[in-house]
Amino acid sequence: MKQDELGRVLRQMVPPVDETGIWEKIESQAKSAHREEGNGKPKKGGKRLALRFALVGMAMIVLVALGLGASALLEHLRQDRVVLVITEDGVSDGTTSDDTATEVAGGSPAQTHITADSAFANRRWSVAQITDNNVMDEVPVAQGNLLAWRAHDTHDYEIMTFDFETGTTSQLTDNQVDDWEPKVYGSHVVWMEGERGGPWTLRLYDTNTGATRQIADGTVRYGQYQLKGDLLVWPHLQDGIIGEVKVLRLSTGEALTIGGGDAEVRDVFARTDGRYVLVATETGQESWDLLLYDTASGTQEKIAGGAIVGDWRYLDDRRLADGVVVWSASDGHDEEIFLYEIASGTTTQLTNNEVSDIEPEVGRGYVLWARSPLQSDGSSSASREVILYDRRSTHEQILGQGYGRLAEDGTLAIWSEYPQKAEELWVYDTDRAEATNLAEAGSQASWPDVVEGRVVWYRELTGAQQPSAEVMVATFQPTAGTTSREYTMIDWLPGQGTKPMYVAGGPALNWGEVATLKGRAVSVGEPIEDSEAAIPLDETNRWTSMGMQPKAVYSLVTITNTGNTALTYDAAEFELEGNGSGSNGRTYSDTTSDGHQTLGRGTLSPGESVEGAVYFILRDKDIPVKVRLGAAAGATRVVFASWQ
């Protein structure tokens, strides 16, 4: 029992608690609930099982129609439910047994309509254990080429770093006090130093110079500091003054103070994106102001105030990113998510429902938050859904249950049932809409974080005799998008069949940007609806027979042959995904209804380019989300156009 003064006082404040009859009441309610489940609606699992059999049946019909057998179907089902298993040797294809497959289907991916594709998963994630020293290596963070964590040297915690480029591990501290909670950006590492319980001193290390300097002495709040770009920000603790935020410009040493001296301020938090500083001040019980300070102009504005949810989690430092601020506030009934765009000065309410939406994070193009359904008495339930919101399409989806985080570049999101000691750690690739479990069976993942191209966490082995935690890093292989990096050639050919097959599996492209691929450069314009497009009658009938109205949209596509040999292209190698439907590219006529030349199949000589419109079909109320590059093959299974 902790013996200090505060503990003694608090224990005296504990009121008498009567438990007479309480257990009987709970037991009775639990039994009643079980009876209702048994007599009423089917259990969730049974429902899913029924749905699964229905889907299997439908798939059988489709595959039989395509001339495939049951073994092909089973292979397909297995591939849809592959879980990555990490072994001592690295990542292997842990194709699951039926039992495990059910567990996965009932867990995250199948529930949320996310596909976990084994053919790509193994190629696109490499998982490495960075430490192997039988001490507690904990709470890793990463940015760029730098990884940092705290390691217990049997007496206290020290700060460690690992350079992804050189593979060098460094120990930054060696003292008799705790050094905790490192954060990294660029060439800098910042952490707090002091006796457990505080006060804490902030220290900053520059990997370029190898120098460590003291930033603040005893006036730092545990873990509440952020390093981004050229700025280091932290709420300043000093007796009698609450509400000051300190800002240090690393390149010049310039120091700023924001706020302070306001007697009404009860608490303060700060976040930065490298230019702006978001200051949240608690001005009353459950009442907060959000202030945005521009370090470039020295101006400050209040962007929101009132019943803002004041849970500023220590690791939750992505409230401000991508020119956007996000927060959760009560609408008088429950909590909703709000978004403020700095450039336009506009606030948008992203949710308007009867459930509690809290703890938002923002990454490029996406917002992620936790949602708890309300109980009948109006309070939110203990369950948490992780919601991912696509700002471009305004589409939101449930990733899974638990605690989520979003990479600042918006390409990856992670979630686990618990923030600490979770059995599974899921990562979701927003470009490919694929989820992968990174956690190794028999270990527990704690405090994961996700940054551009990487997921970091520490794992503890279940049942281990000696407590030991090791730092883990999963690295995303070269992937989607519209960067200048080259993509490796795909070695996955379309499946067997008698009809031409179009396989989407390449990178997703952002509207208008140029993707540099091996031997070609491709750009895809934002889809435009063409209500006058001449959709063939048989295609219209096929859609209407499924109860859907087709809608034609086209994208202006440019392809340049940057290689040394002839390049074949085809409209069908482009695939448009909408919220609820999608299609491969088509060529309905020579021109669109507004006069653009359409793109069919053709060949480009080295250095030659072609521009044209590619038609896609979506369900009438659907919104285009992204275009992927795929592969188009003929009946003889010869791939005549594919991304490389």
Partner: protein
């Protein structure tokens, strides 16, 4: 609540082992024994409903605490949207044990909810930083921050007392 046990137990055993302490700690954190009792009872009810699954965990007690804390925090958030209940709660606001000077209790009640909760779990239930962090869904570092802030606020009064 004592150290987390790895021994499989029944919900009833867990109830008799932890109910009083958990309600007591959350009552100090929330200022309402009734609110705390509701949250803890809800957590035990959920525990019973999901026992088939949870009993396989080594951390049934940690699960129970996390759910109770979440329920309490949800309740506190929902108080704002249920003005009538707020009035009732204020009327029924339990007084702390008389041995504690009202000034200390008043300052403690005026602390942000997160600080009160961290203090209650840490000092009354005697949990470790990591266990408090698990229950609150925040990091051990954040727990340390809340404890430090609370101690800073209460230190002058405690020294006088």
């Amino acid at each position: 609540m004592g150290p987390l046990s790895s021994t499989p137990v029944t919900p009833e055993v867990l109830f008799h082992r932890h109910y009083r302490n958990l309600v007591g700690a959350l009552a100090v954190a929330s200022g309402s024994c009734e609110l705390a009792a509701d949250a803890v009872q809800d957590a035990f009810l959920e525990l019973c409903k999901r026992w088939d699954r949870i009993s396989g965990y080594e951390k049934a007690e940690a699960w129970l605490m996390r759910v109770a804390v979440n329920r309490l925090r949800s309740e506190q958030r929902s108080i704002r949207r249920r003005a009538a209940m707020l009035l009732r709660l204020q009327e029924r606001h339990e007084q702390p044990a008389p041995a504690v000077p009202s000034a200390v209790a008043d300052v403690f009640r005026s602390l942000p909810a997160r600080q009160r909760l961290a203090c209650s779990l840490f000092y009354i239930l005697d949990l470790s930083l990591e266990e408090v962090a698990d229950a609150m869904g925040i990091s051990p570092g954040a727990v340390g921050s809340h404890l430090h802030r609370a101690r800073t606020s209460l230190r002058p009064l405690l020294e006088e007392w």
